[in-house]
């Protein structure tokens, strides 16, 4: 069974999206991509640091992997639009993850500014993936703006706390016709599987993979968990979750039973 999904004009078969942040060595990036099979990876744009012997991170990413530049550092829609245009000029394609944050403690996204940037960038031909606070009232707004997907946060960036916004994300999955990609906070493969079981189209995992002692194996573990969660979703598991036990073996015909 071929289980593909489309974002913009690209088809994906692997539902684990990854990030390039915080790897102890960039050399792990291509190895992680190979082990996980991830087909899309995020990058950020910054001023060149002239004092550091900086190197081109793009040289570590195989050409068949879709680049998803983010607009991290943007505090409003204008800054996000500026970063997106620079990223596209760099020849990274039309995909952009809009990230507009003006809360430095919890790094929560600003949905209003993110929506404004989405409207502008879709008109300019970008494939826009907005990183948002899960909010049902924004589904139609992002659909109307032409977003290619919605990326609600599971919990705070880098917190490893998992899907703390579960109830709302379930509503987004049910109500939105756009793919829902759970981004941020997924710290363990079991949490990634949980998002996929709920019906998320994909998950984006960065910190949990890159900060593992062995990021290559971690990437593979997340990929397997995403596959397992996706298969469980497709299998449409109907078993009710109960508080008591429901025996799975017959409760009659026990050995030594006397009438």
């Amino acid at each position: 069974m071929k289980d593909v999904f489309k974002i913009g004009n690209k088809e994906f078969t692997n539902r684990l999206f990854t990030g390039t942040g915080k790897f102890a060595s960039k050399k792990f990036i291509p190895l992680m991509l190979e082990a996980s099979g991830s087909e899309m990876i995020t990058v950020a744009l910054r001023r060149v640091d002239f004092s550091a012997g900086d190197e081109n991170i793009l040289s570590y990413i195989p050409k068949n992997v879709v680049l998803l530049p983010n607009t991290s550092g943007a505090r409003n829609s204008a800054e996000a639009v500026r970063i997106a245009n620079i990223a596209r000029e760099a020849g990274c394609g039309d995909f952009i993850k809009i990230e507009v944050i003006n809360d430095s403690r919890y790094l929560m996204p600003d949905n209003m500014e993110t929506l404004k940037a989405t409207e502008i960038l879709v008109k300019d031909g970008f494939t826009v993936l907005p990183y948002v606070m899960p909010d049902v009232s924004f589904i139609k707004r992002f659909e109307d703006a032409g977003a290619a997907a919605i990326m609600p946060l599971g919990s705070a960036i880098g917190s490893n706390r998992g899907i703390r916004t579960k109830e709302i994300i379930s509503m987004l999955i049910e109500l939105s016709r756009l793919p829902i990609i759970v981004d941020a906070g997924i710290g363990r493969p079991s949490q990634a599987a949980e998002a996929m079981e709920m019906g998320a189209a994909a998950v984006l995992v960065n910190t949990a993979i890159s900060s593992a002692e062995d990021p290559v194996t971690a990437g593979k573990a997340f990929s397997l968990a995403v596959q397992a969660g996706r298969m469980a979703y497709l299998a449409d598991m109907r078993g009710e979750i109960t508080s008591g036990a429901v025996a799975s073996s017959p409760l009659t015909g026990f050995l030594g039973e006397r009438k």
Partner: protein, 65 residues
């Protein structure tokens, strides 16, 4: 001449945007340039001559989620 690179004023004798980038970063690949507020395409780096008070942002991709 006095120009500004990544928000820092400096004096330079470089003639073109391309030569400035090479001197500052040691490479030309993987760099994006914002020249006086708008993106300057790579094909124009060689033919864009620096002038007094130019403002340049030299950017590149780094690791990020």
């Amino acid at each position: 001449m006095r120009i500004s690179v990544n928000g820092t004023p400096e004096n330079t004798d470089e003639l073109t945007v391309a030569s400035l980038i090479l001197v500052k970063t040691g490479r030309l690949d993987g760099i994006v340039v914002e020249y006086n507020g708008s993106v300057l395409k790579k094909v124009l780096w060689d033919s864009t001559y620096l002038k007094e008070n130019d403002e340049l942002e030299l950017l590149s991709f780094v690791g990020g989620g």
